[in-house]
């Protein structure tokens, strides 16, 4: 290989990593947590910790219960049927007066649970994976960073001279630059199939962002070209109410699901969207369960709400089917516990890869930058502390606030609990940046201590606020809650052990 080519690739790999590493870590860390977002939701919403479904629940019974609960102020609603991962039925209600409400319903007792008082994982941690911070162009940033991630993988392979000789090499006893580079190489090379697959599919999911000009050319008069192409690819369309009142209740959803059955290959109904239920032009969308397939294509079928007549059948192009399969590889809506754990471990390897990349860059330049009084290491180190330790600490603080303010305590000083959790998350995260800037190298260990304490506190607070301690949930077979508690404890132990080791090394070097 031409030395100049390798040098160019080294430059690209180094600087793309240093500049975009923070964003990449946020995407990898939040993506890794999102593997278990349903389980995190259960942990953060004790009102959703229900017994598993004993008998199949009727969608019509759910609809009737919801109508009775919400009354006539209703434009549309979405019902997510209970599943193995999330035993409550989740209902999104869109009233005519505007806004939306989220309700949880215990399908065994047909009782509505306490109001949803947390953004939890589904509405905060998971969106952060692809939208970063809630600004209009967050998706664009993550789309560009995903492209760079692909470029970094290729350049990483080019610059790694001993990719096979060092395949299994990890020397934790060596000095920090060497051991961090070993770990960087190990996690990147061994998990490379995952990294390539997850980044490439991430890029493919966002196809309609990259090719927006071409969509504008196809739909020149549309204000929503991305929605238009989706409708065309799925063979679906927007519905318009007729303005004629629907005198009776809507047709039976179970019968609609029976009509949909042959198109779904025996899969169950998972998601129901009902638009304008009180209008004769009202419609019902039925979506099949994705539990037993990789693809995210849930073959939506449209019915007239008042007659129950099927209006459209699932239609897809080959390209769309392929895109949906690749999206499914990334989004893991399927129900496969072994594969989910493998995704989680590989995602964690990605986080380690990015963190050790930062460490290597910082440690190889620390002395020279100090000698030349160059601010590079200080800037990159505070960014690295912020994005690596700070993000994990902020997430742990998010969990602690969730459990510290019990469901009954809906509002505190006029701030609603979901907002309080998010405000604390960002406050801790910004503080981590300042702390990293002020304390430099010492911030790694100090934040590791804080992370360890917060992780332990979250487990204790979960016990005191709900009575669910690890032993109890393990014995009851409630693995979602037990798993979350154990993961927090494991994280806390690793953090405290790391903090102790960092402290020991620092004392020896003084």
């Amino acid at each position: 290989m031409h030395p100049e080519f390798r040098a160019t690739m080294t430059w690209l790999h180094t600087w793309a990593g240093v500049i975009l590493g923070s964003v990449m870590f946020v995407m990898f860390f939040m993506g890794t947590l999102s593997v278990f977002k349903a389980e995190i939701d259960q942990w953060m919403l004790p009102q959703a910790r229900l017994d598993p479904l004993k008998t199949p629940v009727s969608p019509d019974a759910l609809y009737d219960a919801i109508r009775e609960h919400v009354g006539d102020d209703l434009t549309s609603m979405r019902i997510v049927m209970p599943s193995k991962h999330f035993p409550a039925a989740v209902i999104y209600v869109y009233p005519e007066s505007g806004g939306s409400r989220t309700l949880l319903l215990d399908p065994n007792r047909m009782e509505f649970q306490a109001p949803v008082d947390s953004a939890a994982a589904r509405s905060f941690l998971y969106p952060m994976h692809y939208r970063l911070i809630p600004v209009p162009y967050g998706r664009w940033v993550s789309a560009v960073v995903a492209m760079f991630m692909l470029a970094m993988m290729v350049s990483g392979v080019v610059i790694h001279r001993k990719i096979f000789v060092d395949f299994f090499t990890f020397r934790p006893g060596r000095k920090l630059p060497r051991s961090s580079l070993d770990l960087h190489n190990l996690t990147s090379v061994l998990a490379m199939p995952f990294h390539i697959m997850i980044t490439l599919t991430g890029v493919i999911i966002l196809y309609n962002l990259y090719f927006l000009p071409s969509l504008n050319a196809v739909y020149p008069d549309s204000e929503r070209p991305r929605l238009e192409i989706r409708h065309d690819l799925e063979g679906t369309h927007d519905t318009v109410p007729t303005g004629t009142a629907n005198t009776g209740r809507i047709a039976r959803i179970e019968e609609m699901a029976a009509q949909a059955g042959p198109y779904w290959g025996g899969e169950k109904l998972a998601d129901i969207f009902i638009e304008h239920p009180d209008d004769q032009g009202g419609v019902v969308w039925l979506h099949k369960s994705l539990a037993n397939q990789v693809s995210t294509h849930d073959r939506p079928i449209l019915f007239n709400a008042s007659t129950g007549r099927m209006l459209t059948t699932p239609q897809t192009t080959v390209a769309y089917t392929a895109q949906q399969w690749l999206s499914g590889v990334h989004m893991i809506f399927f129900d496969h516990w072994v594969l989910r754990w493998l995704y989680f471990l590989a995602g964690a390897a990605g986080c380690i890869m990015i963190a050790t990349g930062f460490l290597y860059w910082i440690e190889t330049r620390r002395k020279s930058h100090l000698r030349n009084k160059t601010p590079g290491v200080r800037i990159v180190e505070s960014l690295a502390v912020w994005s690596v330790m700070g993000l994990m600490t902020a997430t742990a603080a998010y969990f602690v606030v969730n459990r510290a303010f019990a469901p009954g305590l809906w509002s505190w000083q006029g701030i609603l609990k979901p907002y309080l959790e998010i405000v604390v998350f960002y406050l801790v995260w910004v503080s981590a940046l300042l702390h990293g800037w002020i304390r430099g190298k010492a911030a790694w260990g100090e934040q590791a201590w804080i992370l360890g304490l917060l992780g332990t506190s979250a487990v204790v607070l979960n016990w005191t606020s709900t009575g669910d301690h690890v032993l109890k949930t393990l014995l009851a077979g409630d693995f979602a809650i037990a798993g979350m508690d154990l993961a927090l404890l494991a994280g806390a132990i690793i953090s405290i052990a790391s903090a102790r080791r960092i402290g020991k090394v620092r004392r020896q070097s003084l």
Binding site: F164, V165, F167, F168, T169, F170, R171, P172, L186, L190, A191, P193, F194, M197, Q293, V294, V329, F334, H336, V338, L339, L342, Y343, L345, A346, A349
Partner: protein, 113 residues
């Protein structure tokens, strides 16, 4: 239970054995497992056949248990887990691989005499 055993076999044990075998082809892992002065040399054909056999068996079990659609995702990730486990074993407990790898190693003829 059968499902868990099959997955443990296909996702962890077989890939660990496969990568353990592949590691023994390399000098550094060999030295870590048997020491620098063991003089042992790998029986290349046997080792590579064993490793490829384990990889193929892992793929076969996964296809049978999870179907092709999930196996294409499970198998590469299992290989990552297997390779990472071997790497950790070589780092923290290299001798544990010795008993498994010993039948695939031989002394050079000059040393045997």
């Amino acid at each position: 239970m059968v499902e868990t055993v099959e997955y443990a076999l296909a996702v962890l044990l077989l890939p660990v054995l496969a990568f353990g075998g592949l590691a023994m082809v390399q000098r550094k892992p060999q030295e870590a497992v048997f020491g620098r002065r063991s003089g042992l040399r790998p029986r290349l054909f046997l080792l590579l056949s064993f490793s490829c056999g384990c990889l193929a068996a892992s793929a076969a079990v996964l296809v049978k248990r999870a179907g092709v659609e999930f196996a294409v995702l499970l198998w590469p990730l299992s290989l990552t887990l297997g390779a990472a486990s071997v790497s950790m074993l070589l780092t923290y407990a290299p001798r544990t691989l010795g008993s498994v790898a010993r039948p695939f190693m031989t002394l050079p003829q000059t040393m045997e005499r």
